[in-house]
């Protein structure tokens, strides 16, 4: 049984039409899984469903054998699921250190050593700890966003397009950081537009089309699959 799984999820926003149809996504600890697909395929929606940001009509979300389909997003955070949204993923008017502290809001005991761990992971943040996040560069902001999400010591980290809008160099750097996080035995699930690069660092991937699983397999398999290549990876 996979560590974190969304099983046969069907649902949409509010009373609107279903965006995902019987979609299944799972991830193990210490694994990076990417969700890919064309625009409007329901990639982000699938992820948000697993976080509890939309109500499922059917299907279930399970972490470590426990059904959390009915829990609110806040309660899922308490189960160790952390989420980095695509936009507005930092507190721009607060300092780097305060952002990390807010990430640890639910942690009641001593969390200063967790902050130090984050600084070890992202050394640049340590230098800029007293600076307002709104003044940092795009890549540094994404590191703050990752750091904030890691403060609860999550077992599952979900990333919604972590490299959207950053330069290719920064993108490589961010992927390196994501691999570092994976090595701390966290299950990482991400939605990515940069499909090739994402598959390169992913253990497995899912390709969604119109809200349904179309292809799935290891990163290499998908990269070499001619059908995936021709439709999503540009030949």
């Amino acid at each position: 049984m996979p560590f974190f799984e969304g099983k046969n999820m069907t649902g949409g926003y509010g009373k609107g039409p279903d965006i995902i149809n019987s979609c299944t996504v799972n991830v193990e600890r210490g694994e990076i899984v990417s969700i890919l697909g064309p625009n409007g395929a329901g990639k982000s929606t699938a992820m948000k469903a697993m976080l509890g940001l939309l109500n499922l009509k059917s299907g279930s979300v399970i972490i470590d054998g426990k059904d959390i389909s009915k829990l609110s997003p806040q309660d899922r955070v308490k189960e160790g699921i952390s989420f980095v949204p695509q936009t507005k993923n930092v507190f721009a008017g607060m300092t780097v250190e305060e952002n990390l502290e807010m990430g640890a809001f639910l942690v009641n005991d001593y969390y200063k050593n967790v902050i130090d761990e984050i600084y070890n992971l992202f050394p640049i943040l340590s230098e800029k700890r007293k600076q307002f996040v709104g003044e940092l560069s795009g890549g540094q902001r994404q590191q703050v966003a990752l750091g904030r999400a890691l403060m609860i010591k999550p077992s599952v980290l979900m990333l919604d397009e972590p490299t959207a809008g950053v330069s290719p160099i920064v993108m490589d750097e961010l992927f390196d950081h994501i691999i570092k996080v994976k090595k701390t035995n966290v299950a990482i699930l991400m939605v990515e537009q940069n499909a090739k690069q994402a598959l390169n660092i992913s253990d497995r991937g899912y390709v969604l089309v119109t809200g349904e699983n179309r292809y799935s397999g290891t990163g290499k398999e998908l990269l070499n699959d001619p059908r995936v290549r021709s439709s999503f990876l540009g030949g």
């Binding site: 997003p73 806040q74 989420f83 507005k88 993923n89 607060m94 807010m102 639910l106």
Partner: protein, 336 residues
């Protein structure tokens, strides 16, 4: 000697009164800015909430006076403030529960909430008038002056006296203490930081596990403290009249917007910017020029830029200028 007299004149009629008035506006402006930043609407009931809090404080003051309880040379109203804050806070939480909460949960646009707050304003205004009436009331007791103008003249031998009212000193001291505690709370405590986080990015605050219900309650409690203390200080220094409190909303909003709405420190300084502009522009400088200029150049008129009747025009003009040229305020707040 003449130069000293001119200086004392400005201190007495401009600097000291503006500092006290500015402090009173600053407290109101922080109230506006906190509600705007955290609950995300312009609260038009600000002035009347302040008047409600002051009314409760006056009722307690009268009660304490009737049982012979006073604070000696300090005004009895200071003793009434904590009790007034409790009632004010309950009033705000009740209003929130029955009025604002519905619109907040429905994620109504801020304009709608602002309109709702106008309704709250009318109701609060009516409640105040029913309970205490619309007339002017003075509830100050204790020692009126710290330094009297005549005493100052006797000591220094100058022509001009510097009178410092005890209410002015109380206002400034209380403001410094209150604002320091508030900034310490917002910047150093976990709860305060979570309020700033909620104001900064609501969705991310929710994802971080910050409880919005708790934030709302704490915001209203702080608002109750600010409204009551700000209102009582103004009432002690001048007098309590519900209509004046309603009118004060304009300079208070101007202060909050000048400082950058949503930014408490900006609102604090904005209060002084508005107070000093109002008083500097409406003061008659004739006497000042009589001291500093030679007799041959003595001015004929009052040398008053604006009649005091137009003091609201000053805040209004500042408001318009700021919104036109720097809509985010002096210190960057949210853009309106």
């Amino acid at each position: 000697m003449d130069f000293l007299n001119a200086l004392i004149l400005l201190l007495n009629y401009i600097f000291v009164p503006a500092l006290a008035y500015g402090s009173q506006l600053a407290i109101g402006a922080i109230f506006v800015t906190l509600i705007y930043g955290i609950l995300r609407f312009a609260n038009f009931a600000t002035g009347d909430m302040m008047s409600f809090g002051t009314m409760i404080a006056i009722l307690f003051t009268w009660h304490f006076q009737s049982i012979g309880l006073t604070l000696g040379f300090l005004p009895t109203a200071l003793l009434a403030i904590p009790f007034a804050i409790l009632i004010m806070g309950s009033y705000m939480l009740i209003i929130d529960k029955f009025v604002f909460k519905y619109y907040r949960l429905n994620k109504s646009p801020p304009v709608q909430l602002a309109m709702v707050s106008i309704g709250v304003m009318f109701v609060t205004q009516a409640v105040v008038r029913i309970i205490i009436g619309p007339s002017d009331r003075r509830f100050f007791d204790g020692e009126k002056f710290l330094i009297k103008a005549s005493e100052f003249k006797d000591i220094t031998g100058l022509n001009e006296g510097l009178a410092i009212k005890s209410t002015q000193v109380i206002t400034i001291v209380v403001t410094i203490i209150l604002v320091s505690i508030l900034f310490w709370f917002l910047n150093k405590t976990k709860t305060g930081k979570s309020m700033r986080a909620y104001s900064d990015n609501e969705d991310l605050a929710l994802l971080s596990g910050i409880d919005p219900k708790k934030i709302v309650i704490i915001t209203w409690m702080i608002a109750a403290i600010l409204a009551t203390i700000g209102g009582v200080l103004y009432g002690l220094d001048k007098s309590f009249k519900p209509f004046t409190y309603f009118n004060n909303m304009l300079p208070i909003f101007a202060a909050a917007i000048v400082g950058g709405i949503g930014n408490p420190f900006g609102a604090f300084l904005g209060g002084y910017v508005i107070a000093f502009s109002e008083i500097l522009l409406t003061y008659a400088y004739k006497k000042f020029f009589m001291y500093v200029l030679p007799e041959s150049m003595e001015p004929d008129g009052l040398i008053q830029l604006l009649s005091t009747d137009y003091k609201f025009a000053v805040s209004f003009s500042i408001l318009v200028i700021v919104l036109l040229y720097r809509p985010s305020g002096i210190f960057k707040g949210k853009i309106l």
